[in-house]
Amino acid sequence: MLEAARCIVVRDLLVAWRRRSDVATALLFFVIVTSLFPLGIGAEPDLLRSIAPGVIWVAALLSCMLSLGRLFAADHADGTLEQLLLSAAPLGVIAAAKAFAHWLVAGLPLVLIAPLIALQYDLPAPLYPVLALSLLLGTPVLSLIGAIGAALTLGLRGGGVLLSLLVLPLFVPVLIMGAGSVDMAAAGLAPDGQLLLLGALLIVAAAFAPWAIAAALRISAE
């Protein structure tokens, strides 16, 4: 069972590696969007510092959305999705592995690059770990919830837009908690509460989302 999960993760990483440009586009999108704000708003350090957490988090949501559409669509198009549905491991495990692979490719790079982006906003150095930690806890939730939407909109015409409409509202709690934790830390308060809530969201999503993804995949594959 774990072997099948590992197999999926390795496969998806290998495919992502051979299509590096796809991964790079989502990451570059994040970098460019977050760089546009300081350019547009101008050199007002106080304003930039105060909007930084929100802007970085919103850009992370949108960048994550970019790659979600392909999560199952590619497998659906070449027929490998049918083989995933017929695999020897429970579909929930396969779904969890797909979401994890998506996070490794689309979420983890954001966590790593976010402190660098925060430089442009003159965010105080003690906030970097909080920002990175909030993204570390929050982005896997985005992958898990997003995968449910990706599975539901599979094979639909205009699925991409529908996916955004379906999934972005569900990202709101993650956004509030994630950006809120950095804001708290900036105000000199302990961000533990928000971070713990993000952690709780992650645990709940990790426990239930794979089964929801599996059910959605079965429906879409029919």
């Binding site: 197999c7 496969r11 027929g79």
Partner: protein, 201 residues
């Protein structure tokens, strides 16, 4: 071992077949015939559990496949219309991953033998032709000989004569070993089906 009871299938509001019942034992070869759009692929997808029938049930060793889920999936190999190979991976990687997902361990040597039998170079699949992709999909059959049930949707499509003969031999061999095969084809084939279901009738 495979039993279909009163199957009915509707696609897009049109009834494809109704009250279809049959039982398939080991060592039997069932050919599903019928013109385009008569529901051959739908029947195969119902038999492997990808599609739920509008009515009726499919049973494996007496238990409904919907309740067996992956326990049933472990018993079968399904070759569908799409080749189910990833463009960016090589033929060998594709075969290895397919076998691992099906819960079987195969050695690199076995994979190489399967690819050699189908005369496939170990190139990324996107550099292969349509027929060669098909061969890469069918190479899984050589590594699935221990599985009791084969469901093959148009196995000969896009294949040349030599590869077609190899598939015929594989099917014959599997039936001789006591396995069950369900397949659809429009081409003439030399394999002797022990039963034919005509969906047009």
């Amino acid at each position: 071992m495979l039993e279909a009871v009163d199957l009915a299938c509707e696609r897009g509001g049109r009834s494809l077949f109704r009250r279809l019942s049959f039982a398939l034992r080991g060592g039997e070869l069932l050919r599903v015939a019928g013109p385009n759009g008569s529901g051959k692929t739908s029947l195969l997808r119902i038999l492997c559990g990808l599609l739920s029938p509008t009515a009726g049930a499919v049973r494996w060793e007496g238990t409904e496949i919907r309740r067996l889920r992956e326990e049933y999936s472990k018993q079968l190999v399904y070759i569908g219309h799409a080749a189910a190979v990833k463009d960016d991976l090589t033929a060998a990687e594709n075969v290895r991953i397919a076998c691992m997902l099906a819960g079987r361990r195969v050695s690199p040597r076995q994979i190489q033998q399967a690819l050699d039998a189908f005369e496939l170079a170990d190139l990324p699949v996107k550099r292969l032709s349509q027929g060669q992709r098909r061969r890469a999909a069918l190479a899984r059959l050589l590594l699935s000989q221990s599985l009791p049930l084969w469901l093959l949707d148009e196995p000969y499509a896009a294949l040349d004569a030599a590869a077609g003969r190899l598939v015929e031999e594989l099917i014959d061999g599997h039936v001789a070993r006591g396995g069950a095969v369900v397949f659809t084809t429009h081409q003439d084939t030399r394999v002797r089906a022990s039963r034919v279901i005509d969906l047009d009738a």
